[in-house]
Amino acid sequence: MIEDQVKFFKALADASRVRIIKSLMESPMYVELLSERLELAASTVSFHLKKLEDVGLVTKEKDQYYIIYSLNSELLSKSLGDWLKGENANVSEEDGREAAYRQKILDTFFKFNQLKSIPVQRKKRLVVLEHMVEAFSKDRTYSEKEVNLIIADFHDDFATLRREFINEKLMTRENSIYTRVK
């Protein structure tokens, strides 16, 4: 996906992150050690490591008291050409764009997993509802009160959102019992 590739190069386009990668090429390290070596605040090192982790360049593993960061050598050993061709050949360009579009909507309408406002546009509202319905299990039924409580974790207007789940056929209602559509 082109968006992921751009994100990858953006993660690399920072001198401090390149220095972190070079250090990790020597051996896996924990934040405090990197902080000392690179003369950066530990919180700044964590910030950079998170960016590298998000693009898959770095992995972390808990080792007793420390979290050890390592380079993803498999990714680094790939040639730039192979990598740019795309490792997920089965993911079409269209699927990639759709996933990016959905993520953008979720980033816009949610903050700390709270729905900031109910989208007016149906297409966007559907993306939001599809995300929220994931909070319901497909293997059980829910009373109206339970549905309200789960929706209230996202947004106060649980009545509107509950109705929308039914309208969009994401849930069914029978005798006030709600079931997530499989």
């Binding site: 001198a15 401090s16 950066l40 919180s43 700044t44 964590s46 910030f47």
Partner: protein, 158 residues
């Protein structure tokens, strides 16, 4: 209570002016330092750290403006002591501390709330930005408290 006419009334003005000059000098120096750091990081292709330095600069800016607002809010008798005022009324340190330190409580409330949420939802990058703001605010607050405490101690010895 000791009447103010027992003192040189001008000295109260001078003290506030001198303190304000010293404190705003500190803030100006801090701003220059942050501006230089942002430029240095930018030149070194350390974009994110440059952004953090700019965030710190904004925080300094906020508390510089709040200092001016706090001085402006001082009661008239604290800024312009007259012979009829008692020494206590003419004191500027206590009201200045109360107003200015109040901003250090009020303004970062949202930063602390955001930080808590970011930690809860494992938003490492956003959490770092909040920590940068909070650390800068605490550094400014600590310097202000140190500086005004030194003035208060001097006043007691005098």
């Amino acid at each position: 209570m000791k009447p103010i006419n027992a003192l040189d009334t001008q000295s109260e003005h001078t003290e506030l002016i001198a303190f304000t000059a010293a404190y705003t000098n500190y803030l100006s120096a801090l701003k220059s330092q942050k501006t230089a750091a942002a430029a240095k990081y930018q030149a070194a292709q350390r974009e994110d750290e440059s952004k953090f330095a700019k965030i710190e600069l904004n925080v300094v800016d906020i508390f510089e403006k709040m200092y001016s607002a706090s001085v402006a809010k001082l009661p008239k008798e604290a800024k312009t002591p007259s012979a009829s005022h008692t020494l206590k009324e003419a004191e500027w340190q206590a009201p200045l501390k109360e107003t200015y330190l109040g901003f250090f409580e009020k303004i970062p409330t949202a930063w602390f709330q955001n930080l808590e949420k970011c930690e809860q939802f494992d938003c490492v990058q956003e959490a770092h930005v909040e920590r940068v703001k909070i650390a800068q605010m605490q550094a400014i607050k600590a310097t202000f408290v140190d500086m005004i405490s030194a003035v208060e101690k001097e006043a007691i010895h005098d």
